[in-house]
């Protein structure tokens, strides 16, 4: 018993040491956001002064949180809707141009992100979606499509054909079969895609940087990045740290909550290439 425990010790020392390195920045940031520092709203002692700065910054924290929530929700909904139907089409139907369309969807991955944003800025202007949260969500959903479509196609392909065919024989249309039979079967895939889309949309920084010019409409990451250099070049570390906490908490919670599905979705095929 003792020798076995000793044999494990190096493993735990290495693993725990690495865990400390990985956790330290997160924990430090959470602590620093409430700790007193000269030059911030929280001069001494512990307290929520930095969060108060954040609440009052420019259009106000609630505004930015609202913007981020709208953008994330729209992006997730668009991504799920399009990739659910698209994945179904690619996995179960034959139609002209199928392979070409699938390849084109994957090709989105191969073009540098920032390169596309400039023409998208011009294009959204023509569609009168410039500087709008809907336009931003459409763009973010487009960038999610390669992963989402790939993932959903694999999820649909993993469902036995007989399941769908028996529903069709029983008189369901393909839409009915999709809704009643296939939807529950591809849920892990949908959760993975949805979580991925949420994390990407919530955290995205470049797309709003280029597409959103009105600070009223900025989502949170952009607002926090702007905030750190507000008053005459003086840097407000405290408020930035508080901003990072506000940005990170929803992501960390969602990830911990959905981790099981997420990892399973990952393992079940997305990366079998």
């Amino acid at each position: 018993m003792l020798t076995r425990a000793l044999g494990r010790t190096p493993y735990y020392v290495v693993a725990a040491g690495l865990a400390v390195i990985f956790l330290f920045p997160l924990l430090w940031n959470a602590w620093a956001s409430v700790d007193g520092q000269p030059g911030t709203a929280q001069e001494t002692g512990y307290g929520l002064g930095n969060y108060r700065t954040l609440l009052d910054y420019d259009a106000g924290l609630w505004r930015y949180l609202g913007n981020s929530t709208i953008v994330s929700a729209l992006t997730v909904a668009l991504t799920l809707g399009v990739s659910l139907l698209g994945g179904y089409a690619f996995a179960r139907f034959d139609f002209p141009g199928k392979n070409l369309l699938f390849l084109l969807t994957l090709a989105i991955l191969m073009v540098p992100y920032a390169t596309l944003l400039i023409p998208l800025y011009v294009l959204l202007g023509r569609l009168h979606l410039q500087n709008s949260l809907l336009g931003l969500s459409l763009v973010l959903a487009m960038f999610q499509l390669p992963f989402a479509t790939f993932m959903m196609r694999i999820s649909f392909e993993a469902v036995p054909r007989e399941l769908e065919e028996s529903a069709l024989v029983d008189g369901c249309g393909t839409a009915g079969a999709l809704r009643r039979v296939l939807l529950p079967a591809v849920r892990p895939g949908l959760i993975t895609v949805g979580l991925f889309a949420f994390l990407a949309a919530w955290n995205d920084f470049i797309a709003p940087l280029i597409l959103i010019s009105d600070s009223e409409k900025a989502p949170l990451p952009l607002a926090v990045a702007n905030l750190r250099q507000q008053s005459m070049g003086a840097v407000d570390y405290g408020a930035t740290e508080a901003g990072v906490v506000v940005l990170a908490v929803p992501c960390l919670l969602l990830f911990l909550l959905l981790q099981r599905h997420y990892v399973r979705g990952f393992m079940s095929g997305a990366l079998k290439g």
Binding site: Y11, V14, L18, A19, I21, F22, P25, L26, N29, A32, V82, L85, A89, F90, R92, F93, D94, F95, P96, G97, K98, L101, T105, A107, V111, Y113, A114, T115, L116, I118, P119, L120, Y121, V122, L123, L138, V139, A141, M142, L145, T149, G171, L199, N203, D204, F205, I206, P221, V224, A225, R228, Y237, E241, L247, A248, C251, F255, M267, L271, G273
Partner: protein, 276 residues
């Protein structure tokens, strides 16, 4: 695509006839209706890809050949002036060199650490699940938030790293982690490795778990040492996963932008300007 679909429907079977033929005996009409339905389900994807990807791609091709300031609109072609402008810019070649250097360092460090982490958490010891979660946790953060976080962490005045080193007596003055070109580069590498190691660990873990147990057992029976097993079984069988990670890592680093924009703003002295 959408316009074409109804055409097919009317030539194959009239809408009136189609209703009773919903469950047809013959294969041919059924095939047609399935083709149409497939097109219908794929239509949103097609619209998205066309409007938000292909169109901008064509536009960027045209823009790259024209004099087109964003606010003033198209001013006509001027090829290849934009390209020579780019290559003539004093920032361009250092940016290329810097991007390549950064990519090389990140790829080596990141994949090495990810492999170590994957090997650590793949064993079914108590606590392995916990460590897996911890290593992946930074991955849930956005790159922008992570950059902001490290920006505070690296701060010479309020950041804890500098104070820690001072207290340990390793340095006399506050350390400026982003102050010199080399340290700015290394600090950014640390940030990126911290954020992405868990993600690549997951990819490699999937690969590791697909190696059958029997192979390891056979090797152990033959008296192979741990190092030998790792070199001649784990690494070769892990090649697909390693290749995928390598591809993602290299493309990801070549297109790096967020981390430098937030952390260093290209400084000091434009030393960390990347191509993108």
């Amino acid at each position: 695509m959408q316009v074409k679909a109804p055409d097919r429907a009317t030539t194959a079977d009239r809408p009136v006839v189609r209703r009773p033929a919903r469950r047809p005996r013959t294969a041919a009409p059924r095939m047609h209706s399935r083709t149409i339905q497939g097109l219908g389900y794929a239509a949103p994807t097609a619209v998205f890809v066309t409007v938000f990807f292909l169109l901008p791609l064509l536009l960027v091709g045209r823009m790259s050949l024209s004099d087109w300031p964003l606010l003033a609109g198209d001013r006509g072609g001027n090829a290849p002036e934009n390209y020579t402008d780019v290559t003539d810019s004093p920032l361009f070649w250092p940016a290329v060199r810097f991007t390549l250097l950064y990519t090389g360092i990140v790829t080596v460090v990141l994949l090495g650490l990810a492999l170590l982490l994957a090997l650590l958490v793949q064993e079914s010891r108590p606590g392995a699940g916990f460590f897996r979660t911890v290593y992946f946790l930074p991955g849930a953060l956005g790159l922008a938030s992570a950059s902001l976080l490290f920006w505070g962490l690296y701060s010479p005045t309020t950041g804890p790293l500098s104070r820690l080193l001072e207290r340990l007596g390793l340095v006399d003055d506050p350390v400026s982690f982003l102050g010199t070109p080399t340290s700015a580069l290394l600090s950014t590498v640390f940030l990126v490795v911290w954020k992405f190691a868990g993600f690549y660990m997951l990819i490699l873990l999937v690969g590791l778990q697909r190696i059958p147990h029997e192979v390891y057992e056979a090797a152990r029976m033959d008296g192979a040492s741990r190092g030998q097993i790792f070199r001649s079984i784990t690494l070769p069988l892990l090649r697909p996963s390693l290749a995928l990670s390598l591809l993602l890592c290299v493309t990801g680093s070549l297109l790096a932008f967020d981390q430098f924009f937030v952390l260093t703003k290209g400084g000091p002295d434009n030393s960390t300007v990347t191509v993108v």
